[in-house]
Symmetry: C2
Subunit: 235 residues, 2 copies
């Protein structure tokens, strides 16, 4: 570890501290693990805006590395890549970084909005009591529906969702990870989305015979099973 003091990662926590249901925080956490940097996670809840006010904004992940404060998972990945170039690369160079951005956008546009519709009541069930009113109000306003109404069609929706993973599935039939023989940022971005879901929801997004399922399993085993150790469902 070349970082002498541990990096602090402000990480969204559920009602239990050990359940960490933010896809963006998982990205940052896996980036830190990939770089092999010493860090500790600070459980944080939606309503604790003042706790991270020092970052000049109100969302996690936020990291503190010595004097440096960085927020936003993509900014954190770039920061770590530039600050610690001698550690394993998250992007594998400029083309890899640029295409990682495309993968990140693909996840943002296709995966996150679809998954949130399917698991939103499961998220609600697991967030801290003091976050519930905030969560319900903001999300019901966004979707124009009650939380409970949003996932009513998820059994149909998941079929289309699985089909939308075809480009990922094809790639994982050709190589073990999205980034090649070993995982890197693009893998973590996609994986974090599934990790978010299994953190709070028993609903199976993937079928067990799907190459995407096997790939997710390999990432659950990565870094001494760090993503498997936290509280989550076997979904």
């Amino acid at each position: 570890m070349m970082n002498s003091t541990k990096i602090k990662l402000y990480d969204l926590a559920a009602s239990e501290d050990d359940r960490r249901p933010s896809p963006y925080c998982w990205r940052a956490r896996l980036a830190l693990l990939h770089k092999g940097l010493a860090f500790e996670t600070m459980p944080w809840r939606f309503t604790e805006k003042e706790t991270i006010a020092f970052s000049g904004q109100g969302r996690v992940p936020v990291i503190i590395d010595g004097e440096q404060v960085v927020y936003d998972s993509w900014a954190i990945a770039q920061y770590l890549e530039e600050k610690y170039p001698e550690y394993p690369s998250l992007f594998g160079g400029e083309v890899g970084k640029s295409l990682s951005r495309f993968v990140t956008n693909w996840v943002e546009v296709l995966l996150v909005p679809e998954i949130v519709r399917m698991i939103i009541t499961d998220i609600y069930a697991h967030i801290h009591e003091k976050d519930k009113e905030y969560f319900r109000t903001t999300r019901e306003k966004f979707f124009g529906a009650t939380l409970e109404a949003i996932p009513h069609d998820r059994d149909q929706r998941v079929i289309t969702f699985r089909q939308s993973l075809t480009p990922l599935r094809k790639t994982l039939q050709q190589q073990p990870f999205l980034s090649g023989e070993t995982p890197a940022w693009a893998d973590y971005v996609v994986f974090s989305t599934f990790q978010w879901s299994r953190s709070v929801s028993p609903f199976p997004l993937l079928e067990t015979n799907d190459p995407v399922f096997s790939w997710r399993d390999r990432l659950l085993d990565a870094f001494d099973g760090e993503a498997r150790k936290v509280l989550a469902y076997q979904s």
Copy 2:
């Protein structure tokens, strides 16, 4: 140019030799241009299977580089990258190559099948007379419909198609090319799909105020406007 004899590229031609309507051949052609290698294209038609029988299969692109015969656009890109490593890289390393494969799969799964439905009668109108029966028979069997019936809903279909480009669009709002500051394989794969369409069809897949349109324009200008020089529509 380090290749002393010109590489030969067997390239699908339309009824006119100068109209080159294959997305896969454009990928190979742009890869050769990117590497700065000397090459000549050999116009080829669907029914001329015997002309490329030496390759052990019946589809283009096929390249001959000295003693070496390579077919399939992805195999050609890999071959050129390995054979000419001192020339500009198509992938920018292993992560870039692996993620380029994801982009290639994204194009195969999302773009190609959608575009073919919208422009199939335009393709038919432009292919060589001797290819028409072969094309009609194989495609009508595949789609289970007459050629003329397939694109009937393209005015609606193109709206969904443009929406499906959102991950690409977002990326091109963040950086000039999919591969970063300069184009590389992933750009050529996506571009070739649009080049295929404009080679034969006046139907506008993109709106002129779309960042994807501007990016396509930059690639039409690349390599001294090589892709702009061929016979095509202003679509």
